[in-house]
Symmetry: none
Subunit: 220 residues, 4 copies
């Protein structure tokens, strides 16, 4: 049947010659001792916003969940499968991570879908429609922010989505307890694919601003 | 309240000076035209197995879902939130991706949990226990493969998990139809964190072998 | 009647012109002083896994038993002929060898027979059926490791066979005593005919891994 | 615990750089298609008489049984483990080999033991004593060939042992039938460790002579 894609084999070869060749001891040690990342990132599936790329992270640094629109459902234990909640539980209880970053980004297709739903689901199962339902109360309002442009509404909902995920994170008892004890912190960030800008969320106000990146300008 | 983590700001600065500086035109173009990856990767959250790192992929190349143990639930449209199914629908129907890779890895904590469950969940919600329940029929059998060592059982279940995800992928009508039409291919791969080896799955037998990587050895 | 096979005469002539011509003094000395190998290898009859080839060994280095599937029966002195036990006794008591290596290999026909017995023996004597009976308890279990592929079951039993032989080796009082005294060591190894990879057994866990072969890659 | 022997790892590395590097395609093909040797060799465990070395054979050429003194027990199906008979059955019925060579050699320790038994077994199990019992009727006579020197008696029994194995081979119905049909041939050979000489057995008379090896002398 079908062969494994050539472009991936090619990329893997580049990895082996480059990063792995230079860090094989680190990989071996990480395999022996197990991972101990202190940071969990909840990011979008988007091909343009890989957390390891944006934060230039090496092996063992980031425990990463990726789903459409970097969302966290509210705490709701039942008999169903909850992939994101399972990852959260594993990160906090199993790995004892110290910080969680919800990373959104510009031009997010999931957010676009939430704002522009025409009632025609992508497929009969309408998984995207239901998944983006996590943002419905916000999306239904933002759709009618008529004085804003479509791009402004999109960016607004992208940031609302990050605050919404953080709010839902805090419905998990373990997050709430550990954050209050000071042993876990929760952060938001938004990445502009076009300019490469990273905007971080002010935890008190929920506003996003660009952190001071010394010398950044010189290089870009 | 708390500041955005310094080590991430530091890593981001490195990204801006390095990759972004060298590829800013590509980022700008990807922002304008939207993403058009042809490959979806379903990988684990593990901090040691980032697909972009292993395949040395640039922005726009891989649409990535990451959950614990790189799992795909079987097709089951209902009123619940299905993050992985939503991502799958978005990738296939929205992005028209051409290939899906399920990427597992060695020393997977989720697989370890599935094999060594002692009945004590990590938290009252037991999200991991329920999530790994997707592998329960296999895990319950493999636990009793007594002639194998613990490490051999772990590796066996890591690979079974990949085959299981691929089997579940095919319960989605769109995957099944497109694969039969020849416009979508499905692949499995397994990454050895310690040695950096990539093993790819033979689509006919389900066996994993190392692809020939010409000249790989020279460098490593 | 029939002539001695030409291809063997031809190969022998090549040996005389090559290895023997270069090492005739060594052969003469080995004949005078007798052999004093420090290593015994218990290997399979398979035409693709000759120990002297795999370990690039010269005359006098390896004392080699070869039987189907590199097996060692458990200690069982009685009035019957025990070829492997006799070789073991000769190696340990007569030659005072210092290390025993059980060398298995991939795609072993004996292991395949043990896993795929259909009740029809190869001949009325059913010698293979009885010989592979040494592995029956394991083979009967592994046959039902249904979540693994046929090739995975084969490889699993190949490695179980090595551990089984090592376990049986230790039922011989002389092996047990000398190993505890530290004057004899016992090892397992598995050779992949296709890739040429050698995997060695971790004596503590029974797991097989590839030893670090510095610079191996440069040449291959 | 104990590490895998360094000298074997070293030899294996040499194999990978040498023979395997030059013949990797052959190894891969042999793995894919399975072995199909046309020759079975029954040889001694002695570290100085490896058949692949003496016949300069490559992978896939020789199916090799090695036991002390290259012996074949007479056909005797019962419930016991018969390693050599099992290998014979596998070679003839499974692999359809076309020729069997019994390869003896000079200064054989097993033959020496058979001629010089002092009633003190090497170990309480006396596996060697029983195994060499296959030659007892001959050994008991040759011990009293008082006009011959000890070395002459040793060489005589080495060759008697080869004829004895061939005689026992023919007690196996399959050998007998196939040989009469002309689809299987049986041969004897004896290797002089010191001089490197190969003596082959005249199938009609049982005598051993040196075959004409053109140009041999020039080189050695």
């Amino acid at each position: 049947m079908c062969e494994f894609p050539d472009h991936l084999i090619c990329g893997y070869r580049s990895f082996m010659k480059g990063r792995y060749a230079g860090e094989s001891n680190r990989y071996r040690a990480l395999a022996e001792t197990g991972q101990a990342p202190k940071t969990m990132v909840i990011a979008c599936c988007d091909s343009r916003s890989a957390p390891e790329t944006i934060f230039d992270s090496g092996p063992g640094e980031l425990f990463v969940v990726r789903n459409v629109a970097n969302m966290v459902p509210p705490y709701g234990p039942d008999d169903h499968y909850h992939g994101t909640s399972a990852a959260l539980e594993f990160a906090i209880q199993g790995l004892k991570i110290r910080e969680i970053v919800v990373l959104g980004h510009g031009r997010c297709g999931g957010i676009h879908a939430a704002l522009n739903s025409d009632g025609n689901p992508l497929s009969p199962g309408d998984f995207i429609g239901k998944w983006m339902g996590l943002l419905r109360p916000a999306a239904e309002q933002v759709q009618h922010y008529d004085f804003m442009t479509a791009a402004e509404r999109q960016r607004a909902l992208e940031r609302i989505s990050i605050r919404n995920s953080i709010e839902n994170l805090r419905t998990f008892p373990c997050v709430d307890i550990l954050e209050k004890k000071g042993s876990l912190t929760v952060h938001g960030a938004w990445f502009d694919i076009s300019t490469g800008e990273l905007w971080t969320m002010n935890p008190d106000t929920g506003d996003f601003t660009r952190p001071a990146i010394e010398d950044e300008a010189e290089e870009t």
